[in-house]
């Protein structure tokens, strides 16, 4: 065994991820302080993400509250062997936001709807009038990586992830083959993933 070598391989992000995981386990055990700590650490990220998805800060706030209140009972579902705590938390929040998007209205897979959604997503980047937090370096890198993607790829990725469009719906509106859309989204995710890994390394 080489504990020192193993210890040196642990990055700050690993430590952060472990701390998030520890907090989720503590929340599952009924620790209110752990919930407060997790909110303090990740509330901003979740809120930013939900605002991006829902487009309105008021609704994002409700979704944020939903997320952490539900988390109080659902933290036990987290399994560190399946995913990282942060990803789990964000996907958890995403599920609630998608429910809200669906409750608003059921979108019809038409070109006009596609264009409307893309325009809304583009407008959402500005963040004008919002209480923006200090720019985070990793977030900036991720955004830059996303913006470097070809427009069609970026739009497909964002519609699928932020708006809950299915691959089939995106393919229909774009007149593309389903396989093409799936490949675009996958390549986009890979590009973003590489950005994150590069940053963490």
């Amino acid at each position: 065994m080489r504990p020192r070598a193993e210890a040196s391989a642990v990055t700050p992000d690993d430590v952060e991820a472990r701390e998030d995981a520890r907090l989720l386990h503590a929340i599952a055990g009924g620790d209110e302080h752990a919930l407060a700590t997790l909110y303090h650490r990740r509330g901003g990220l979740v809120f930013s993400f939900l605002t991006r998805m829902l487009g309105q800060e008021a609704e994002a706030q409700e979704a944020l509250q939903d997320t952490f209140i539900r988390l109080w009972r659902r933290a036990k579902d987290f399994d560190a062997s399946r995913s990282s705590a942060t990803a789990w938390l964000l996907l958890f929040a995403r599920g609630l936001a998608l429910d809200r998007l669906r409750a608003r209205s059921r979108h019809v897979a038409k070109l006009s709807a596609y264009e409307t959604e893309v325009a809304a997503l583009e407008a959402g980047w500005s963040g004008a009038g919002r209480s923006q937090a200090p720019a985070d370096e990793l977030a900036g890198s991720c955004r830059a990586a996303l913006n470097q993607l070809p427009a069609e790829q970026r739009h497909a990725l964002e519609l699928a992830f932020f708006r809950g469009w299915t691959h089939e719906e995106i393919a229909t509106t774009q007149g593309e083959a389903l396989g093409t859309v799936k490949a675009r989204i996958r390549r986009g995710l890979l590009a973003l993933r590489k950005t994150m890994k590069d940053y963490c390394d």
Binding site: L35, S48, E57, I69, R70, R74, S83, A87, G95, A145
Partner: protein
Amino acid sequence: MTENPIPIEEAEDYLLGRLKRAARSRFEARLGQDAALRRQLRELEEGALALAMSAPQLRPPREAWTNIQAAVTRKQQCGVLGPFLSLHWLANGWQVAGGLAVAVCLHLAAVHLSGAGQKPGQPDRAGQATEKIAMVAPSEKTRQAAMEKQDTAPSVAVARERTTRSPASSMAVAFAPARNEACREKEAAFAPEQEIISNHRRPIHGQRAVSLAKTLPASQTNSPEAQAPNLAAAQPSVQVDYVEFTNPVAMDSTGTVTLYSGIGGEEPTMAPAAPPIASNESISLDAAGNDLIVTIDPATLPANLGPITIWMVDAEGDQTLVGTVNLGVNPVVVDIQNADLGGDYEYMVIAGGTTVLGYFPQ
């Protein structure tokens, strides 16, 4: 090797721990045999994380945490086991004494009720203490029943009543929270204007198939048979700390309603700023006693409440969405078929974060 990418929904459900036991086993079996699938899952997770992080960074409003904290505190106070599992109460001797007193009272109440000849598991509001104790460790059979229920995707169809409902047809029924009085007093002290309903725990007797279906004529909902004697007495409007938009349904121009599949069995979540409602809606049994008739008049509700959701609460305290109706201008009558009201399920109708109706079996 996996030739096609995994469905993103399935992968997400797996990562979130939402897959049912059988589906999770299948998925993990695939993961164990398929390195490409494992890689795709990791790509999905990390890519999604990066995508989420690309959003402009914002500060959440201060009141968000205040609301979360308040809701969690209420849950803590009203949980069946929460105060006893936590050791914080040991820090205060008076609380210890109070806790012991409550425990003795609960025990005496349980002994009294069991001596009164109550059948085990029989739903009876007077027997809450006994039932709560029973729910601490639900049997495997009960757990299985709950899991089976979650696997049942209700088919939903809703039609709107076009005629104006006569005032007499709206039986003003709200609901009676099936909580112990001590808990309700705590809630009242916390928020006098609010009353909270959640986590009603009752035993399950088998699996229920629930569907929303036909529009009923007002005459039927107004019939004496429809007005079951075991409905809760009318109460002032109350507000709950839960509302949920999971599995919403959308109605098209033909009145057909589509139920989104996916997440089921999730408990409703909080809508803290919902206004109280002075409701004169109705919820009643049909003539045969099998169906639940829900009548909702949008004219009596505040504007912009959003969709109405109808929830079924099972013995685990989990609340399953039966269906969602987007409010228009006309009264809506919903027949929840095969609601099996002889059993133990409770129903709540929630609009805009406020429970406007509730059915609780006696």
